[in-house]
Symmetry: C2
Subunit: 352 residues, 2 copies
């Protein structure tokens, strides 16, 4: 992943640059995001998506939001403006916790920083956003190292949606494990669920894997059951958008069926995610809010209706996989086997 | 279903008319099929599809195939021509047994019919094709009556692909159960899997149900797991393309995951199919051939690539649901509970 999914360009009066993921794989285009409203839109419309990446995007959005108070704004006004920006940036997507996590980090730094000098305050916020981005890169590399042993020579892996470089600063979470295994000269193949409705698997994951020279096969989401029954899948690895204290995991719609199928076929099912994806304030997955998106995403995918225009549509963007179905969670600080309330608490308490 | 999915128009020099299902729901167009090659194409390209409907289509195709021997063909030539036609019509799609079943019926009648008078022979073959079509209508109504009790007041049903009027002469198999329950003034709702890659659920089933005034919601195939976990599904009903002697059932790709999920959520899973769908020559589902279709169906769905053009694709059109996952099979002659080799043999031996 040479080009960055998201990066800051210039100093405090600079802008964010993102790969416009709605156009891939047909078109590769960098979008310049120059104000907070455009960043909100970019997150909402999935120009930038993936739990870690939207955390970074929100942090840069907060920097952009500080550009607006006119001329001689006082410290209070500047801090108010930051709070308003953060509140606004929390609204486009409800499920991934990384968005809230990154904005909480920004707000914590803001609270601890003097705003008498507006320029210095903005520099400090930008520095924190840059740190979130840089740490994400390091985190993804570490996830790759932690998980790579799970891929054996000639493994056949199934993944869903995109938990790759495009979902993070770069390198990815689930795909980081694969990229690292490839660097270790392991031979393996990957089946990629296309991931309806927005096809992040076919459009983004297949694009990343093919570019990396990994043996990649695209399937429809409903084909994974047959593949497992045919013995064609050795392990499943996906990313996560939010993990509750007991290990229940929200991820892209269609993850839960894969976990149930994997268990029915005695296939290990792994989640790869940075520790910032854990939301220990929620005891279990039932409290994770599930985003519902527009009906047109399903029944008018390319400007043409594929169902009667007046039919009802249900379009949840995520589902919850209960921890009982998860063999292990691969984080940047180690692998949590058989995640549950106890193993996760121990793992966090262990300061690992 | 006022307009016929497939019907014969005119006498022995007539033609078959089908609703071109590749154009729905955007366009409703009747295609006239005037020679055997066009019928082969119509079956291959899914202009006509659904296990019972392609049985009827093949029978009419055999009639069309008899038009070709020139002028004064002798009885042997005519019978050879019929055999050639039937062999040819067995080739476009391998999985649904109804195609083979209908052609076997045609060949049996041909064997028992004198071909000295070519006109009379052709009339006899057409009459048999017409009988197959008429019987299918009666069979579908009977399946509806047999299964309607499984739908209770306020039931919420999940179905996959299209097992409706468009998959049969009319009225359908899985949908027949719903249409009959509606005639019984039951109130219920139906969730319809869109059914990638060719979207028969969104395009065809939703179209039929909305036209019938049934409360219908389209979802992506990967959403069924979440719905079940949310308690939104009371029962699943699908059609079948071939049922082995032990009850293992081939049906549209994505059926098997639904059956596994239904069992994990204690939701009954029903198959609705005419008895002609059983293939007692196969002890179990492992021997059912699974059709693989072109990669473009998945990665170039509307003339636009949704994945890297050079990626590998696996596109099986069917999967096998082991009988352990099937609560019952609804046929025109009764419901087979807990289907297995024994219950199915008893049911057939019982001459029911």
């Amino acid at each position: 992943m040479a080009p960055a999914t998201i990066k800051w360009s210039g100093g405090i009066d600079g802008w964010a640059e993102i790969i416009d993921q709605t156009l891939l794989p047909e078109e590769y285009r960098i979008a310049q995001i120059r104000n907070i409203k455009s960043m909100w839109q970019a997150i909402k419309t999935l120009q930038v998506r993936g739990a870690p990446a939207i955390g970074i995007a929100a942090a840069y959005g907060a920097v952009l939001g500080l550009r607006e108070p006119a001329g001689e704004a006082g410290p209070e006004q500047i801090k108010n403006q930051l709070k308003k920006s953060c509140d606004y940036l929390r609204t486009p997507r409800p499920t991934a916790v990384n968005l809230f996590w990154a904005l909480a980090r920004i707000e914590k730094v803001a609270a601890a920083t003097d705003a008498v000098n507006a320029e210095k305050f903005r520099e400090r916020i930008l520095a924190e956003a840059q740190a979130i981005c840089a740490e994400d890169k390091a985190t993804c590399r570490a996830i790759g190292r932690q998980g790579a042993d799970l891929i054996r020579q000639d493994s056949s892996i199934l993944t869903h949606c995109n938990a790759g470089g495009l979902a993070t600063a770069d390198y990815g979470t689930a795909l980081a494990v694969m990229f690292t295994a490839q660097e270790q000269h392991k031979r393996f193949q990957v089946y990629v669920d296309e991931t309806r409705p927005l096809l992040q698997g076919a459009r983004l994951t297949a694009w990343e894997l093919v570019h990396a020279g990994i043996d990649t096969t695209v399937i429809c989401d409903n084909m994974a059951g047959l593949l497992m029954r045919q013995g064609k899948i050795d392990l499943v690895i996906t990313g996560a958008d939010r993990i509750a204290a007991n290990g229940d995991t929200a991820n892209k719609i269609g993850t839960y069926p894969l976990a149930v199928l994997a268990q029915a076929h005695n296939i290990p099912f792994y989640i790869a995610a940075p520790s910032s994806t854990f939301d220990l304030s929620l005891p279990d997955g039932d409290k994770i809010p599930i985003e519902e998106r527009a009906k047109e995403e399903i029944i008018k995918p390319w400007g043409k209706f594929i169902a009667p225009e007046n039919v009802k549509v249900y379009n949840p963007a995520f589902d919850i996989t209960p921890h009982q179905y998860i063999s292990a969670i691969i984080t940047e600080r180690g692998v949590i086997d058989r995640p549950d309330t106890q193993t996760i608490r121990q793992w966090f308490d262990g300061g690992k």
